[in-house]
Amino acid sequence: MIEIRFHGRGGQGAVTAANILAEAAFIEGKYVQAFPFFGVERRGAPVTAFTRIDDKPIRIKTQIYEPDIVVVLDPSLLETVDVTAGLKEGGIVIVNTEKSKDEVLAKLKKKPAKLALVDATTIALEVLGLPITNTSILGAVAKATGIVKIESVETAIKETFSGELGEKNARAAREAFEKTAVYEL
């Protein structure tokens, strides 16, 4: 089972990102589960969301404490939230940032085995005209982890958002997929 934790801020779509990733894995025939941290979310406040992916039905109903993959949608969270808390050995961290590898690593309490960086905010502003990074960051997830194909991410996005909105968001994911820098550490 692969467990993924998303860190975002209320309004950035971390919960939707977790759901779309589950949908993408479902398209590839996997068993999935996606859920928000069971909180009372407010716009701008730190939020977390989770996805589980497995080859067999997922029965466990608890929160995720030891993720394999951590995805950070908002660079400012690195200042305030311990995003690597509980990260498994060999874990992967994916961050939306314009900063360098060394600058990001300096902010992480635990060094991951792999770090992936993408400026998802700029991509979202260019493609969508809004700083909502949930779909673009999923391109980085596909690139850095290989748990889902970028094509499945695009399909899942278009199933979630209809018409032009879906097309644009799928394009944001594809662009992020191509621009993500992956570092083995």
Binding site: A18, N19, E23, V32, Q33, P36, F38, R59, K61, Y65
Partner: protein
């Protein structure tokens, strides 16, 4: 068969649509609201032909369902916690008038203090209202439960309402894969309702909610209990038929998991039992002979199944995500009562877990297994009720 990745609440909404409900009357409350929002969306998109009655409270929601059901319609509603409590009076009216209404209750902790998280006390506090109660472990069971509920409720020997119960957030807002059969297969399983009596059959007028003097009231109560007894049989028949048609068998009112050779079992209801099954697999690898008994139907209570289980195990750890103040966990209380007049006397201990959404994990279940094993080896309880998570 088409599968969708949906939340527990959307599973409930799809099931209501697929059951071809005719009337929905509901009032929003977290974490239930997305059920009725989704139904409203189906109606707005022209996907479902449902009379939606917006009301000013849950009390009115149930009153409107009662009116619709008495007129012969298939009626559905959903609520949580304080909303369910506000409905309390009307719940008695629904069962007393023998109306097969189906309601989804998203288990939510009762206030104060305010909480929107999972806790079974809201639904269990409605234990004596004459409603059947089914607790879902996952989103699939929410969906299947609603479809089966109408068939059980509308059975001519039953005619009682059913509450399908799912966990706040843990199911209601968690996305999971749900297999939804084609509409024509559902229609074959669940044909239109054929009420015995309706308010709208003007050639055969009836009175609903009339006075019963001491000469008659007693028999009305007895007939509800006879219907509950019939419901035990109907639930098993419908659960079996559901399995034959759709591949998921619900003929057992208590689902047993690896109990055949178990020394002791975990018994509980709802979503926490998914985590328990996962833990049972891990504990068996660690040498524990454990199993799980998931009580699907709390009303009518599965007395015979519990006895059959209890006579073959040394211990039962009853996991209650609820509490009856001044006594103990409600499932524990019921289970002990059932076994008192039998020869089955396993050691039983009550663990109060997960109240108000406190996370209940595999490690917690492992700790409980260790405690149960020690108790069984000693042949003596350390204490009967344990507030497991208490901060010390």
């Amino acid at each position: 068969m088409p599968k969708k990745v949906v939340s527990g609440n959307y599973a409930a909404a799809y099931a209501a649509k697929h059951a071809r409900v005719e009337v929905v009357a509901a009032y929003p409350i977290t974490p239930q609201t997305s059920i009725i929002e989704k139904i409203a969306e189906f109606i707005a998109n022209g996907e479902a032909n449902i009379q939606y009655v917006p009301v000013e409270s849950e009390h009115s929601a149930m009153a409107a369902c009662i009116g619709a059901s008495a007129a012969g319609a298939r009626a559905f509603t959903a609520t949580s916690a304080q909303g369910l409590a506000l409905m309390h009076e009307m719940l008695h009216w629904a069962s007393g008038a023998r109306l097969p209404i189906v309601m989804v209750d998203v288990n939510r902790a009762m206030a104060p203090p305010w909480s929107v998280w999972d806790d079974q006390t809201d639904s269990l506090a409605q234990r004596d209202t004459g409603w059947m109660q089914f607790y879902a472990e996952n989103n699939q069971e929410v969906y299947d439960g609603v479809l089966m509920a109408f068939k059980v409720a509308e059975h001519r020997k039953v005619n009682l309402p059913v509450m399908i119960i799912e966990s706040a957030f843990i199911l209601s807002h968690t996305y999971d894969i749900v297999d939804m059969p084609p509409q024509e297969e559902i229609d074959e399983f669940l044909p239109p309702r054929e009420p015995l009596y309706t308010l709208t059959d003007f050639d055969n007028p009836i009175a609903v909610g009339a006075l019963a003097t001491p000469a008659d009231y007693y028999e009305f109560r007895y007939k509800i209990e006879k219907a509950m007894e019939e419901a035990r049989k109907v639930i098993k028949e419908v659960g079996k038929e559901f399995g034959e048609r759709f591949g998921r068998d619900y003929s057992q009112m208590i689902e047993l998991y690896k109990t055949e050779d178990a020394e002791f079992v975990f018994m509980g209801m709802g979503s926490l039992m998914g985590t328990v099954k996962e833990a049972v697999d891990l504990l068996r690898k660690e040498g524990y002979k454990v199993g799980a008994a998931k009580v699907r139907w709390f009303r009518p209570f599965p007395k015979e199944e519990l006895y059959e289980l209890a006579k073959n195990v040394d211990g039962i750890a009853v996991l209650d995500r609820n509490f009856s103040f001044g006594q103990e966990g409600i499932l524990f209380n019921e289970a002990k009562g059932v076994l008192y007049n039998t020869d089955a006397k396993p050691i039983m201990k009550n663990y109060i877990v997960g109240l108000g959404g406190r996370d209940f994990t595999v490690n917690d279940i492992r700790a409980i297994a260790k405690n149960m094993k020690e108790i069984i080896e000693k042949g003596k309880l350390d204490r009967e009720i344990e507030w497991y998570h208490l901060k010390r």
